[in-house]
């Protein structure tokens, strides 16, 4: 790097080591870049494929006039009329009942684990939550079937599905709420205690509000997750083509169950309804997930 005015003294004694990257390292860099990009593509391809297929095949169904407002009551297998109103209602009410049960229990359990739990009981609860988180949905469904239907003699109903969903939702809610509560700095608790505020009030009025945004987001994501569960509806409730508003009695449709039952429909309308229901389910879950991110954005603690 000599310049016109430079003398030998201005020149570096040896070539600066930063001047050029060694060939070996350049090759490694390129190989790594290609591998990582490839892995990304491989991961994205099935996702896009599924989405495109579901949208392309489901779109005609969900755009039809009756889709969102009518059930399949009285619709023959080969007919394209009717809609999935009854199944949307079923999916939502089953998830709603599960949420009403699982959220208070889950949040209280998380509060116990974070704020009170010391010693063997807390470790046992925490261990059980881990076990529960690993339980496959079919096992949860069979447990409810065995415990409530076989032993206690309860009839098959949407409520039984909700109970199985509670088992699947609880560990998600507990773990998430636990994380959020642990994020609340201890110095906030200490300064509340130092004001002479009792512990339970500190938790209720200081700790929970601080953790609220993340907790609600987690609950929304948990709801989104259980709405697609199929095993509980296959085991615990019969399919109905008409609307049944009563979750405690009789058969009730839900979107996964409707898809399953249409599988045995040999007519083309069956395929049409399966793809429509699939797209509908994805849209509903999307709404909950977008809702979750909106809530976390707008209820975040202002700086």
């Amino acid at each position: 790097m000599t310049t016109a005015t430079g003398t030998d003294l201005d020149r570096p004694a040896s070539e600066p080591p930063t001047r050029q990257i060694a060939l070996g390292r350049r090759i490694k860099d390129h190989v790594a870049t290609v591998l990582v990009s490839l892995a990304f593509l491989i991961a994205v391809v099935p996702l896009v494929w599924v989405l495109v297929t579901v949208i392309a095949r489901g779109l005609p169904a969900i755009l039809s006039a009756d889709w969102w407002g009518y059930s399949l009551s009285g619709v023959l297998p080969e007919e394209y009329e009717g809609g999935v109103y009854h199944a949307i209602y079923g999916t939502l009410i089953q998830a709603f009942i599960a949420t009403v049960i699982a959220v208070p229990v889950g949040i209280l359990a998380a509060i116990y684990l974070v704020e009170y739990g010391r010693g063997p009981l807390a470790r046992a609860v925490s261990f059980m939550v881990d076990i529960l988180a690993g339980v496959p949905s079919i096992v949860a469904a069979l447990f409810v079937f065995a415990a409530f239907i076989s032993i206690l003699g309860a009839p098959q109903s949407a409520f039984m599905v909700s109970l199985a969903l509670v088992l699947l939702m609880l560990p998600v809610v507990i773990r998430n709420t636990e994380e959020m509560l642990r994020l609340v700095p201890d110095r906030l608790r200490e300064s509340a205690y130092a004001l002479g505020i009792p512990k339970w009030k500190t938790i209720l009025r200081i700790v929970l509000p601080t953790a609220l945004s993340g907790t609600v987001t987690g609950v929304m994501l948990a709801i989104a997750r259980i709405m697609g569960e199929t095993a509980p509806v296959l085991v615990l409730v019969g399919y109905a083509r008409a609307i049944n508003y009563d979750p405690f009695e009789g058969n009730m449709a839900s979107l996964p169950l409707l898809m399953y039952s249409e599988l045995s429909n040999p007519e083309a309308a069956g395929q049409y309804r399966i793809w429509g229901a699939a797209l509908t389910l994805i849209i509903i879950i999307m709404i909950f997930q977008v809702g979750a991110s909106l809530i976390s954005r707008f209820s975040a603690i202002p700086k």
């Binding site: 010391r118 700095p185 201890d186 110095r187 906030l188 608790r189 200490e190 300064s191 509340a192 205690y193 130092a194 004001l195 002479g196 505020i197 009792p198 009030k201 500190t202 009025r205 200081i206 509000p209 601080t210 609220l212 603690i301 202002p302 700086k303």
Partner: protein, 258 residues
């Protein structure tokens, strides 16, 4: 208002670890008592036992007596919550409640103790903010989040919050160590004001600060890491800084160790 605290043969443990050994001292009402000493000597630990705050750490316990105007705050049947209403605390890091506005932060203690009267809460908020020398700076942003203030303002907000519940004693655990010199000065002026009404105990790493704000100073030390800390001596601040009784105190103050 303003109560006296006596420590008699106080030993503090964290589980099996003996943190502080045999402390005897008296905190005089309407004065500032400073605790100084090297890191790990137990001065903050002693401070936290004065309002039973150290109990929040698993395995921590206290032996001996801590008397607040003659009553042992560790008596069976004494409520830690009641003790803390009498003995307030300001922490090292400013820690306003992030979900609350400036006003709600100040009256958080009263509100959560069940005071509902909005007029009274507003009065207390103003009086406490004036008491903490913060009123002029925040009176137009009482409804803004407390976390939006500067560090020094947040610390004064925390002091306002502590005095809003009208304690008799105010404990300060290195209240200025996270602040710049100007905010530190503001807090020191405030301490001089507050001691007219309150009994103040302050832990500080800054010896000049102890010399500036306190009436009596206690020097804590520990013989070696892992050994319990102990109170070397406690005396009038002027005497500690000019002519201490113990050689260790003089060594520490003159900067020969620590």
């Amino acid at each position: 208002m303003a109560k006296r605290i006596d420590l008699k043969d106080v030993d503090i443990y964290y589980g099996a670890f003996h943190a502080v050994q045999n402390v005897n001292l008296t905190v005089i009402p309407r004065s500032v008592t400073a605790f100084i000493g090297p890191s790990g000597c137990g001065k903050s630990t002693v401070l936290r036992t004065l309002n039973r705050m150290h109990e929040e750490i698993a395995g921590a316990r206290v032996e001996g007596e801590i008397l607040l105007d003659g009553e042992n705050i560790y008596d069976r049947g004494t409520d830690a919550v009641a003790v803390r209403r009498t003995i307030g605390m300001v922490f090292q890091m400013p820690n306003p409640f992030p979900t609350m506005s400036v006003r709600d932060n100040v009256v958080a203690g009263l509100k959560l103790q069940g005071v509902r009267d909005k007029k009274k809460l507003d009065e207390v908020a103003e009086a406490s903010l004036r008491g903490a020398n913060l009123w002029k700076e925040v009176k137009d942003r009482l409804d803004k989040p407390g976390g939006g203030l500067s560090g020094g303002q947040q610390q004064r907000l925390c002091i306002a919050r502590a005095i809003a519940v009208q304690p008799d004693v105010l404990l300060m655990d290195e209240p200025c160590s996270a602040l710049d010199p100007i905010s530190t000065l503001a807090i020191e002026d405030l301490i001089a004001d507050l001691k007219k009404q309150y009994t103040i105990v302050i832990v500080t790493h800054n010896m000049q600060q102890a010399a500036r704000v306190s009436d009596q100073t206690g020097f804590f030390n520990l013989e070696a890491t892992g050994k319990p800390g102990h109170l070397v001596e406690i005396d009038d601040t002027e005497k500690i800084f000019s002519n201490p009784t113990e050689q260790a105190t003089e060594d520490y103050i003159s900067g020969r160790f620590g």
